[in-house]
Symmetry: C2
Subunit: 417 residues, 2 copies
């Protein structure tokens, strides 16, 4: 029989209120919200007054409350709530990806010490059950690659840029108006949010615990209409993709970068605020999961699925962590095929490339495509240069430098010298 | 720590041999095949001779073997093996969808009596983890609809018919040559296989146990090139879809029928031998799972994931069955929008329709589109008529008869009388 759950909820923003409404419509799930902690007592809310309090301790020390659900925006406060609740022996569900990604080692220790379950399915790809499937379904040995569109805001912006031909700043404004992007969009558009999710995915897929700066990530701020036009001409779309791939050298490549996606690729299906995850496994080939990645109800429904799992005593076994005792780690010893567009009259970083496929020059639109070592790319932070837009080409990852067409590099260099 | 698994394997056909090869490549999974039961001792196999036996009891009564994996083709034998193994207290993994669908009530009783776990993820949509996600992730209250391309053979045939413009019989031959269809293709092309999978899905999604004849199902045998041409002109594809949808009347519509799929619909992505499952849930909106649905390794990798789950003591909780104590049942009280093409000089079943949208006549190509009650459709078995091809229109299910355009019906009837 499922366990009776009495919930203490932290946060009554879009996700918290969404969850409140969903729980009213799921009577078979034996779960009730007893109390909700809010920051501002004087705001008008669509729920009975007696449900709310501003006193966190009232919930954290209430012995009747056996589940704490935390859906607030303040990372530090979220960590305090989650760790206190776990130490008090309560089960916890959290949607705070930044907090989880930054504090995973500590949260693992607390879980081990207290034995209290901690679930956070909504923290990676919202409504898509990616954590649970990676945790339960895919054997570590066979999981050769993961590619994820993990951030709904940037995918929405790229869809507008691409489908509607509007600029990045116009698209960002639209996304903010529709509630798909925060007022401060930095975490989304500069790739941090997708990187947090990649950190969580790496833990559950490969048993690798890392910090954000342990891998390469960038966002979509520099992507312009000319880049979108290039993509269209080639039959590509542009997506911000968080990915990991096992290398022949025994290490794991992991990064978040914008990438050209062929129209036949499953990730091309992922439009607007949707998310998608493509899993490549040794024997099952490609598997693809797709669902809403932003918004009140998709996130709340993932939180609900965690609550439902708690009622059957589910917890993450962190199998892959147990299996991967230092065996598999992140590597920067590989190469990427990239497209780099740049403004007129900027120095062209030709010398960084291992090989060059194409060099395009026309008034107002310059780009190079070619292969580059990740070490070089990272050291020189090529994605950060002003007016420069770096986008991965399809099938970008390679263990080896390319020798193809580096005659072009030689002749270009000869011409320039 | 994961449990050490000693496996007794029944069957060394494509799936069994696939599993044998995969297990050799998954050292972190603590699982070894001790013995394999085969039917024909004299066949040459790609594995050491001492692995094989023809004596089932040798495995079923071996106390060292704690897991029986059954991947044979004989339904009756499969049931005997599975039920004996469960009664002997062994965990069981099976890939026999027909056996499971036909014997689910008995298998539930045996599981209850023995407490032994029984997993069969590969029995529905092969490599896609659909059973486990329905079982664990989606709350019954919110699961409004499921649409699945669950049979890789028919999807391969339809892809050939559609993309290559070859006839059904030519496409079937190609599928057989490539190993995507059985020598006797009846179970696939007449919709039985998809219907078995729908039975399994209904149990885990809605807690409904039913027999195959409790719902409407048909296959793709009558679909012709003109039907494919109609689809192309409208921008549709044709897919054999197993589906379930909650009705306003409180019942559940469930059936397997060929359907026109719009090119923007996620199921349109599902080509060749792939499978896809679209789940509509109250608050998470649409979620889509996609992966290989036929072939040795995709099926074997789903079997592997069950073995891996057993090592962590996973079992199906059959939550939805516990929740749905007779509350939700199958209904035939709804309407479908259909396309029906038919041969020249056959009586046109105009009178069966509630309303008619279109009636097309040209030499060699006749069709009607309109809305029909499921009771009428079923009673008259319209999908079985020779030379007649029945395909659902997009968004076919409706609780109410349509009143739109039945003026056309009136004028047609007036013209005919």
């Amino acid at each position: 029989m499922p366990q009776q759950l009495t919930i203490g909820l932290f946060g009554f923003g879009v996700v918290g209120e969404g969850l409140y409404k969903i729980l009213l419509q799921t009577p078979t799930l034996n779960a009730q919200i007893k109390k909700v902690v809010i920051k501002h007592a004087d705001k008008i809310r669509n729920a009975p007054d007696e449900l709310f309090t501003t006193d966190a301790d009232e919930l954290l020390s209430d012995p009747e409350i056996n589940v704490i659900v935390e859906v607030i925006n303040d990372t530090d406060a979220a960590f305090r709530i989650v760790s206190t609740a776990l130490k008090n022996g309560k089960a916890v569900v959290s949607a705070s990806k930044k907090m989880i990604a930054e504090n995973l080692p500590k949260l693992l220790l607390i879980q081990e010490a207290t034995g209290a379950p901690f679930l956070y399915e909504s923290a990676a790809c919202a409504s898509i059950p990616v954590i649970r499937n990676l945790e339960e379904y895919y054997d570590n040995d066979l999981l050769s690659a993961i590619q994820a569109i993990a951030n709904g805001s940037t995918n929405f912006i790229l869809s507008r840029l691409f489908d509607d031909g509007i600029s990045f700043s116009e698209a960002l404004e639209t996304a903010q108006e529709l509630g798909f992007a925060e007022t401060d969009p930095t975490l989304d558009v500069d790739g941090h949010d997708a990187a947090y999710k990649l950190q969580i995915i790496l833990a559950h897929a490969y048993g690798i615990i890392c910090q954000q700066n342990d891998f390469l990530f960038s966002g979509i701020r520099n992507i312009g209409l000319r880049d979108a036009q290039y993509a269209r001409e080639k039959g590509y779309q542009i997506k911000l993709v968080a990915q990991a791939r096992k290398l022949e050298n025994g290490g794991l490549a992991a990064f978040v970068l914008p990438q050209f996606i062929k129209s036949t690729h499953p990730l091309a299906l992922v439009k607007d605020e949707y998310n998608g995850v493509l899993i490549e496994s040794g024997f099952s080939d490609q598997q693809f999961f797709y669902g809403k990645g932003a918004g009140s109800f998709p996130t709340a429904s993932a939180v609900l699925s965690d609550i439902s799992a708690l009622s059957y005593n589910y917890r993450y076994a962190y199998k892959k962590l147990a299996q991967n005792k230092g065996g598999l780690g992140l590597s920067d010893d590989y190469f990427l095929s990239i497209y780099l567009s740049f403004e007129e009259n900027t120095p062209i970083p030709l010398h960084h490339f291992e090989s060059i496929e194409e060099w395009h020059r026309e008034p107002g639109f310059n780009y190079i495509t070619g292969r580059i070592s990740v070490k070089t790319l990272w050291r020189n932070e090529l994605w950060r240069q002003r007016g420069q837009s770096l986008i991965l080409l399809p099938d970008a990852i390679s263990d080896k430098p390319s020798t193809r067409r580096d005659t072009l590099k030689a002749s270009l260099e000869a011409f320039l010298n």
